[in-house]
Symmetry: C2
Subunit: 337 residues, 2 copies
């Protein structure tokens, strides 16, 4: 990468699109963020994404862009550059890579957002020597990113890493996916909110009732954190239970994959990091085998909201270097390996 | 590999050592099997292993041996060629690779037995084009072998694949490993036997009582199969439950790793294959995500008792080819990659 060249990385989320431009020293030169809401009605998603990218490039002083990386909610077809299905955004088989390549005339690469968030936290963090990494991102859902032998694991379908749908309790509560007892049904933000709703309805959390009444849409992770800081033990116990269960799932991944590094990210970790760290460490001690867990570093990611967009730039950079190395023009739509 | 060259593969199990010799067409030229029992007393394990290998070579007509592969119960240190800990055999830090290299003066390679069993069933089976493979071997314990991007997964510790210690039920029954609710504690042969013991003590299985009285050491998997064939529904239900739980664990692995191929092996599958296949297919349908499971082939391995020993010869062959390719003399003690 030359000194006048830049790469764009975008993060397409359920509520926002974030586009960042990085230079050849891997510094973020500019950021542009737009809401994704309302797409289904009047604004075409492709136009909104292009607009966000263009604005970030302008903000950066219109440097030479040599490639674009895209992170999107899974499942994605990384080989053909297609977002297969994003229920939250209402897309099916959205050929994002072709659209952006045509508009910007540069190579474009796609991967799952949690894969890329894990990838960035790993390569830009303090433990980039690790060869085997597990990323766990609890939020509305619970996403996972797996890196084995320094490569993102996509599996046969391209959609590996669905750790949120690991069955943790047979015949347990119903999950959004239709089955029962998934980690997500027990420990996602929605699972936590379900328990909190019952507290409110039973009149067992005065502080929360004062704060939001009975409108549960107003309860954000930050409010949950505030309530706990104010000593609302029942809310704290709900969060601790979810965090512990997330830790049991992490212990299972340690038993299965034996990583050196586990990275925690996502909305719940950002708001409630201390509780999550405590409960996850406890659960890992109780549920992972000693010889597999003894050297594992478990840490909260440092990149916050930029993680996925930065992961997208890293994906792009690596792919471009691969193209140079092999002189292979067919890797424009990369498979993330 | 030249036409007059052969490779030795050995399988060191809890009850037997099996040594096979294969020729350059990958045909088994000879087999030798010895019991492992009584090692702790008068016979040194290294001597018994050497004896078994030597006998198999003699039986094969003393061909030129170019390498030896060793499969041993985990965890093993594949890099340094050491069997770290095998509670069933009473070994700790057993430097098997050095011992055999010194005696036979050929390269020797070591890996975990279930990894090698999975490896052989994959490469010598009908689906060797698969890039991502999960092997599940239920028996006294429940072993796992993982292949991702055509490579055996060892993880940071070398001991990845401990799927038997995936927590399936928090606060569930006690496992041999000391924690609770592991797959092994719910679905291994020992877990099945525990339930059957209760049936016998309650006088609820006449047929079993006639067959073995109250001496549960006499109940082999083959006897369980016979009892079920004779219509003992309560025993069948115990086995079905264990098989279903094994299937839920397999569904979890499909959700996490998205393999194309799942191979079933081990004592319980050999004796009770039909019940296991039915229940595993049912559990995978109910617990794996549709887009991850739809193309997965789940099949019973074809190699039976030879699987691990043949996997050992394959490991050796691949390592030797790697040595030639890279001219690297330091890979004698391979890392199984």
């Amino acid at each position: 990468m030359k000194s006048d060249e830049c790469i764009v990385g975008i993060d397409i989320g359920g509520t926002k699109i974030l586009s960042v431009v990085v230079n050849n020293k891997f510094e973020i030169v500019s950021r542009c963020r737009k809401k994704t809401k309302g797409w289904a009605k009047d604004i075409k998603p492709a136009e909104r994404i292009i607009e966000t990218i263009e604005e970030s490039i302008q903000k950066a002083g219109s440097p030479k862009i040599i490639g674009i990386g895209v992170g999107a909610p899974g499942p994605v077809d990384t080989k053909n550059g297609i977002i297969i299905n994003t229920p939250n955004l209402g897309w099916k088989d959205f050929a994002i890579v072709d659209i952006l390549m045509e508009h910007f005339s540069v190579p474009v690469f796609l991967d799952n957002d949690v894969n890329l968030g894990t990838y960035a936290e790993w390569l830009l963090g303090n433990n980039k020597d690790a060869k085997h990494v597990v990323g766990v991102f609890p939020g509305t859902g619970i996403g996972g990113g797996l890196i084995i032998n320094r490569k993102i694991v996509h599996g046969a379908s391209g959609g590996a890493g669905e750790i949120g749908h690991m069955t943790m309790q047979i015949d347990g509560p119903l999950c959004g996916c239709g089955k029962r007892g998934c980690l997500e049904a027990l420990a996602s933000r929605i699972a936590i909110m379900k328990e909190i709703s019952a507290l409110i309805l039973r009149g067992e959390s005065e502080y929360l009732y004062e704060k939001v009444g009975t409108d549960i849409s107003k309860i954000r992770s930050s409010i949950i954190a505030e309530v706990i800081e104010n000593g609302e033990k029942k809310v704290e116990n709900i969060v601790r239970k979810a965090a512990y269960l997330t830790g049991v799932a992490i212990a299972n991944l340690i038993n299965i994959l034996s990583p050196e590094l586990v990275i925690l990210g996502g909305g719940l970790i950002e708001a409630l990091g201390k509780i999550y760290e405590e409960e996850i460490q406890k659960a890992v001690k109780e549920h992972a085998m000693p010889f597999l867990r003894k050297k594992v570093i478990i840490e909260i990611g440092k990149l916050g909201d930029d993680a996925v967009a930065l992961g997208s730039t890293l994906l792009c950079l690596r792919k471009l270097e691969k193209i140079k190395e092999f002189g292979n023009e067919n890797v424009n739509k990369g498979d993330g390996k």
